[in-house]
């Protein structure tokens, strides 16, 4: 094993103090990188980052400053299990804490289904390093050789007699670990070595009892002494700028209410000492807005506009063959597919409490990137980042929609103005109208079948808006847009199939409508197009859709084998190929998420002519996402993806006209309801692969396409525009 040395590198001393280390025991810590401020925190963790996340307490338990935000995906539980596995602990011995921004160096925003896939390794290494350091201390204390100190629950034992608990091995002396060689520390989490086998267990969320009794604190539940209540009149249209505001004639604000006008930051609002009078006060405000002159330009997102002159910003694959188009021996299959703007619609609308004082700024909010929020708030208030502390809270759903926290920024500005803590709570309307959205996608695919029923060429073009760079501020955006292809928009756009002649081009066009991360980014819209035309091709070739896919998954790689594997499994699971009743249909689709997780889904769809409805009766899903740390959490994520997929296929659509979102609540923006939810059958493929892979967004993309394909099988009509319903299918 490499040498692990105790040093006192106090460049991180602040974090030590803030994490209570000096009082409580040993913190493992080393130098961490800085990140670029005021952009979402995108740097991947380095292995040594993990050392700032663990702390041994004098009672022998381990405190884990989890570098992932909890929004229901359960990543902190899975990572706690990995810590437990490395350190031979059970669940009661791990205290998992969400660090405030002054308790941990910055870590990457919680997005992209990578909490386990990307963070398992540094977390495991840190815990394993800590374990080996403690073993050395046990050796030093006892005078025994390191080799005689065997792993035991919560410590080490020698010759089956002496036990050295972790708590016995540390004192309150100041020790900061610096590990300079990790490569040779043995990791247990993917080797099945721990007697407890924490990995693979169905550990419940440590919060579950508090959730079912209503005690968990979300952003909306925070209350500070002396707190006031604020709200904002938000712009009537995207891009509107505040000129001035006043209290309407013949009305007046009450005592204890303050009008806040901040033209520089485009904010007008009221702060009230009484929460129940806030809405009325807001009605009395008359802002003057300058509206943007240009039309919002949504027609920019129509594929036809670009196709004519082949004018695309980015080319991902450039091996097309125009000569084959119209070739006598090749049957051409072409189709256009579109998907809609969509909202995150997390059940908890955004909220935050901000306390802005001379001595420092503190914000309580649920967010996916607390360091980004810190940077933005600091810039807004023209304060040092070091003056700002974000206390992240459990989110009532994230799905990409909490990378920003606009309520935190509003609360910060209001609090700065009144000098007291201020709470801002968005209502549902604000959440629908003023968040950022999944952009719509417009696809065109030309493809052709040769005489043997193989795909001869595949020319795919699409247009949408930036997603990963959707939130970049205006000035920077114009530069970025010129040089950088948005990978989020293109996620999942490359077909997994062996096709000799492929061309794939796209444009990511910025419009007035704010766009950003939404579950799976481009994966579902792109997979919908790919897997729909695969179905159309199979049908044209007179082939079974499952067999047709398998016939095009050729080549050696592991990916081909695994994707074929889940396709076959979902086929077995669903009884693929059996005959079904009239107006019923089975549809299949598959996808590889982020080049790692392989998922295949079969949908059973029923057409109900009397009720004029399309019903998803059942979904089968086979997923290979590598090592399963916690089966309950993974199954829950898959379940969430399947339900979300039904919503995208059949219900979800946000519309924008004249720079205004038309939908304001769940009556017009519908998400799937309990009675519409299908029966599900989920199979996590047993794999010896020792790496856990992306889970949180993986199963969603093929679900949408499988439902569309099943609707075709049931009705003979192909949904090419989402969402679809009975009426759109039959007219």
């Amino acid at each position: 094993m490499g040498k692990i040395t105790g040093t006192t590198s106090f460049n991180r001393r602040k974090f030590l103090l803030n994490s209570g280390w000096l009082a409580t025991g040993l913190t493992v810590l080393t130098a961490c990188k800085s990140v670029i401020p005021v952009l979402p925190t995108t740097t991947n963790p380095e292995n040594e980052d993990g050392l700032a996340w663990l702390q041994v307490l004098v009672d022998g338990r381990v405190r884990f400053f989890c570098p992932r935000m909890e929004m229901g995906q359960g990543a902190p539980i899975g990572l706690s299990q990995i810590v437990a596995e490395e350190l031979n602990l059970d669940q009661a011995q791990i205290e998992c804490v969400t660090p405030a921004t002054n308790q941990s160096p910055p870590f990457k925003m919680t997005v992209g289904s990578e909490s386990i896939a990307v963070f398992s390794e540094p977390v495991s290494l840190a815990a394993a390093t800590l374990r080996e350091y403690l073993r050395e201390r046990a050796a030093a204390t006892s005078g025994l050789p390191v080799g005689q100190l065997k792993d035991a629950p919560g410590g080490f034992e020698a010759a089956g007699r002496h036990f050295f608990g972790y708590g016995d091995l540390i004192s309150e002396e100041a020790i900061v670990l610096h590990a300079d060689d990790y490569s040779s520390v043995e990791q247990y989490f993917n080797a099945g070595k721990n007697p407890y086998n924490a990995v693979g267990k169905r550990w419940p969320s440590p919060d579950i009892e508090n959730i079912v009794t209503g005690k968990v604190v979300y952003s909306r539940d925070v209350s500070l002494p002396g707190m006031l209540f604020g709200d904002v009149v938000r712009p009537p249209r995207f891009g509107a700028t505040l000129i001035d505001a006043k209290v309407k004639a013949e009305t007046a604000l009450s005592n204890g209410q303050v009008l806040v006008i901040d033209v520089v930051n485009n904010l007008v609002g009221v702060v009230s000492d009484n929460p129940f009078m806030l809405a009325d006060a807001l009605e009395k405000i008359e802002p003057v807005w300058a509206l943007p002159k240009d039309a919002p330009g949504l027609d920019k997102l129509d594929i036809a506009r670009y196709r004519g002159n082949g004018d695309f910003e980015h080319t991902l694959i450039d091996n097309g063959n125009e000569a084959l188009v119209g070739d006598a021996g090749v049957q051409s299959i072409t189709a256009n597919y579109t998907t809609s703007y969509m909202a995150h619609a997390a059940m908890e609308p955004g909220a935050a409490v901000a306390s802005v004082r001379k001595s420092g700024v503190e914000i309580w909010c649920g967010c996916q990137d607390p360091y980004f929020i810190r940077g933005r708030v600091a810039a807004l208030l023209q304060r040092d980042e070091g003056d700002v502390i974000i206390h992240p809270l459990r989110m009532g759903g994230g799905f990409g929609g909490r990378v920003l926290s606009q309520p935190a920024e509003e609360a910060a500005l209001l609090s700065a103005h009144v000098g007291r803590p201020v709470r801002v709570q968005w209502n549902r309307e604000a959440e629908f109208q003023h968040n950022y959205f999944q952009p719509k996608f417009s696809h065109a695919i030309d493809s052709g079948l040769d005489e043997t029923g193989k795909i001869a060429y595949w020319h795919h073009d699409f247009v949408s808006s930036p997603i990963i760079f959707g939130l970049v501020p205006k000035g920077l955006a114009s530069i970025l847009d010129t040089f950088v292809a948005d990978k989020g928009t293109a996620r999942g756009a490359k077909p997994p199939y062996a096709i000799e002649h492929q061309r794939l081009r796209y444009s990511d066009i910025r419009t007035d409508t704010p766009t950003g991360a939404w579950r799976g980014l481009g994966a579902a819209p792109n997979t919908f197009a790919i897997e729909s035309i695969m179905d159309e091709l199979a049908f044209a070739a007179g082939k079974d859709p499952l067999a047709f896919r398998l016939a095009h998954l050729v080549g050696d790689g592991q990916h081909i084998a695994q994707l074929s594997g889940v396709l076959r499994q979902v086929g077995d699971l669903s009884g693929w190929g059996r005959s079904v009743a009239k107006d019923r249909g089975l549809g299949i689709a598959c996808a590889t998420y982020k080049d790692q997780t392989h998922v295949a889904v079969v949908a059973d769809v029923a057409i109900d002519h009397s009720e004029r409805q399309v019903n998803v009766v059942k979904l089968w899903c086979a997923q290979n996402s590598g090592l399963v740390i916690n089966p309950d959490q993974v199954e829950n994520q898959v379940l969430g993806n399947l339900v979300w997929g039904c919503g995208m296929a059949l219900k979800e659509k946000l519309t924008v006209s004249d720079g205004i979102v038309n939908e304001r609540n769940f009556d017009t923006y519908e998400i799937l309801r309990h009675e519409e939810a299908p029966e599900v059958d989920i199979k996590l493929v047993d794999t010896m692969q020792a790496k856990p892979l992306a889970v949180g967004e993986a199963a969603f993309a093929p679900t949408v396409a499988a439902i569309a394909n099943a609707a075709f099988a049931a009705s003979g009509k192909r949904p090419r525009s989402l969402p679809f319903n009975y009426d759109s299918l039959y007219t």
Binding site: G72, T213, R220, G396
Partner: protein, 153 residues
């Protein structure tokens, strides 16, 4: 006055126009009942009014004076023993929650459903639970938990 989780609670006249949800959260300072939509579409704010599941965002304090209101914080008191309500226990056993935000409302709806119909069939569970949205998509686990609670009661 209202009876809130067994306690007589005064309602000032100036608060008659406030919604029961706002009263519970910002006057009684019980934060377990959630705001989801404010317009009766989502069920996050579900409480029991005289034992019946109701949307707290849709009731004004003037309408609930003299009535008995139970929130998620008071639910476990409805059982004989000191512990959790059987529905809460079933929710834990089935590991239902993801983000958890909708779950107090789901649990209150389920508890009222089972109080009215101790042995609901699948269709009755589906219909009875359909007014409560869950964006995390926990529906099939909710369904299992309701069925389990019905069995174990």
């Amino acid at each position: 006055m209202i009876n809130l989780n067994g306690k007589a609670t005064r309602v000032e006249k100036v608060l008659y126009d406030v919604s029961l949800l706002d009263f519970i959260r910002d006057q009684a300072m019980l934060k377990g009942t959630k705001f989801g939509c404010g317009q009766g579409f989502c069920g996050a704010c579900t409480v029991h009014l005289d034992g019946i599941a109701q949307r707290a965002c849709q009731l004004k304090m003037s309408e609930v004076r003299g009535h008995k209101v139970t929130t998620i914080e008071g639910l476990s008191a409805l059982t004989d023993d000191e512990g959790l309500h059987p529905v809460q226990r079933a929710w834990i056993a089935e590991a239902v929650p993801q983000c958890g935000y909708c779950q107090p409302g789901q649990i209150m709806t389920a508890a009222a459903l089972l109080a009215a119909n101790p042995t609901p069939g699948d269709e009755e569970i589906r219909a009875g639970m359909s007014g409560n949205l869950c964006r995390c998509g926990t529906y099939s686990r909710i369904h299992r938990a309701v069925a389990r609670a019905a069995q174990e009661r």
